[in-house]
Symmetry: C2
Subunit: 333 residues, 2 copies
Amino acid sequence: MPELRKDPVTGRWVIISTDRARRPSDFLREKVVPQGGFCPFCPGQEDRTPREIMAYRPNGGAPNTPGWTVRVVPNKFPALGIEGELARRGEGMFDKMNGIGAHEVIIESPDHMQSLATLPLKGVEDVLWAFRDRILDLKKDKRFRYILIFKNHGEPAGASLEHPHSQLIALPIVPSYVREEMDGAKAFYGQKERCIFCDIIRQELQSQVRVIEDSTDFLTVAPWAPRFPFETCILPKQHESAVENSPSGHYEGLARALKNVLGKLNQALESPAYNLVIHTSPVMESTNDYYHWHIELMPKLTKVAEFEWGTGFYINPTPPEEAAAFLRDAHVD
Amino acid sequence: MPELRKDPVTGRWVIISTDRARRPSDFLREKVVPQGGFCPFCPGQEDRTPREIMAYRPNGGAPNTPGWTVRVVPNKFPALGIEGELARRGEGMFDKMNGIGAHEVIIESPDHMQSLATLPLKGVEDVLWAFRDRILDLKKDKRFRYILIFKNHGEPAGASLEHPHSQLIALPIVPSYVREEMDGAKAFYGQKERCIFCDIIRQELQSQVRVIEDSTDFLTVAPWAPRFPFETCILPKQHESAVENSPSGHYEGLARALKNVLGKLNQALESPAYNLVIHTSPVMESTNDYYHWHIELMPKLTKVAEFEWGTGFYINPTPPEEAAAFLRDAHVD
């Protein structure tokens, strides 16, 4: 018998179907393996990207030259323009504004063949520090209300270049999927005076069935009502509303949690494409008691998970308890 | 300069990017052309499907034999089970219920090689009547709160069989994308005492720039803030909250509007895959003044529109005014 489960934060119902394909081997997918070849993100090609915004150069060196470990550049084909006024206005009953925003690329390593799963721990930690540096800088720009950090890994997940990179988009609006989570979290807080994510963490730690990894400061789980097979979530165990507010002592632990879960996905699902999104509080309410930042990770498994297309309603053939068991058991070096 | 536009019903902001690919020829896509071959939905194969729920047989004949024009059968691999109690219950702070529901397939024509765009008008109209017959029947089952009708056309859109068919899922919950639209429409009605969709129709008819086709009873438009290139919407011009409440005199006009816009998409985009979803009121509030049923149609154009993956935030490279102009000009026989 399939089950209908309600996401406690957004109120979204999902069908967890147990009669269909569900084990890792039941999914068709493309193995993501870097091929190499010419790449504008590789060292020595610094003039192929727009001029860098920042870079980590542990041994020094001039901007836009090799020697960096992490490098941030404007997206060459930005979805939004950085210059200008928002000019919020109506067109009859409709609302619009200029598409002002920042669209940046975080090049995660000089090594084309690496990924967040294979980089040394320090390399992953540096990527997280780069996220924080960029967020703190962009928050100074009063036009921006939300800073969205995400990663498309592999072509099936939408990546157009294989060199390891993440993206950042600073927006003058709060995306509706964030607004929904904020609304749900606020409503819960209004009733209970507790953060709903903190409650979820307590319950997941007690039941253990959806826990993938439990470390000192972070918890990796398969969520109660996942939309996609092998969807996973990394949460800080102590309440923290925005990722950039994380104490500096947490970065190594977060890097390890991220590297571990990606290694487990690679092992269990044979290096799948995936999307990663950091869910964090909007700029104007970045310190609050009701919202709890987290990372959502969605492997892109084709052919089976396509029910959602267009309907906005999800059927997930893999119960999160089974996904968690597979990933718990997946061996990471 | 790209533009940020707000969907007036859901409040969702979308980036309408004008600097990227945007003309029909800029999109990669797979042309959907039926190949034929063995098919369980073809006449003579009636015993390959579960026993039929209903069928139109203009010349009579026994159930589960050839001679039908439209045939409705249970989905052989249903996402939900039809038998049993809902058994709503909690698991700590989480909520769930049994996955009870109906999952049916509407086989739209005995002819494997046809589609809604190529069927005679009467054939399309019969499909719409079949939708209504099934909705009216399923509404009697007090376990169901929403009846979702959708169509995946072509493999890239999630269709697993090429014989023309739609699907129906009766659900004991209201999907969250419907709840969002209902909430937005109710809030607008609370302020204005007018249906927001009726206001949209009036404004679109006045400005004309996003109108694709305007007929006696239906309006086909490219919406103000579309998520996807060439997304289109068919609305009844007179207020009607639920599709099954449509006056019988409207079915021919709706069939023509649907056939025409699909023909135009085929012509402008070379027979793309697409998803079609009927947005209608939930069973328990099927007659109301604030929600207005409509059809959403999303061509599946690959490689460009993939930004959304995982982020829940949309960048659309084709302004709806340009999409509407292309589709207005597309010639349909």
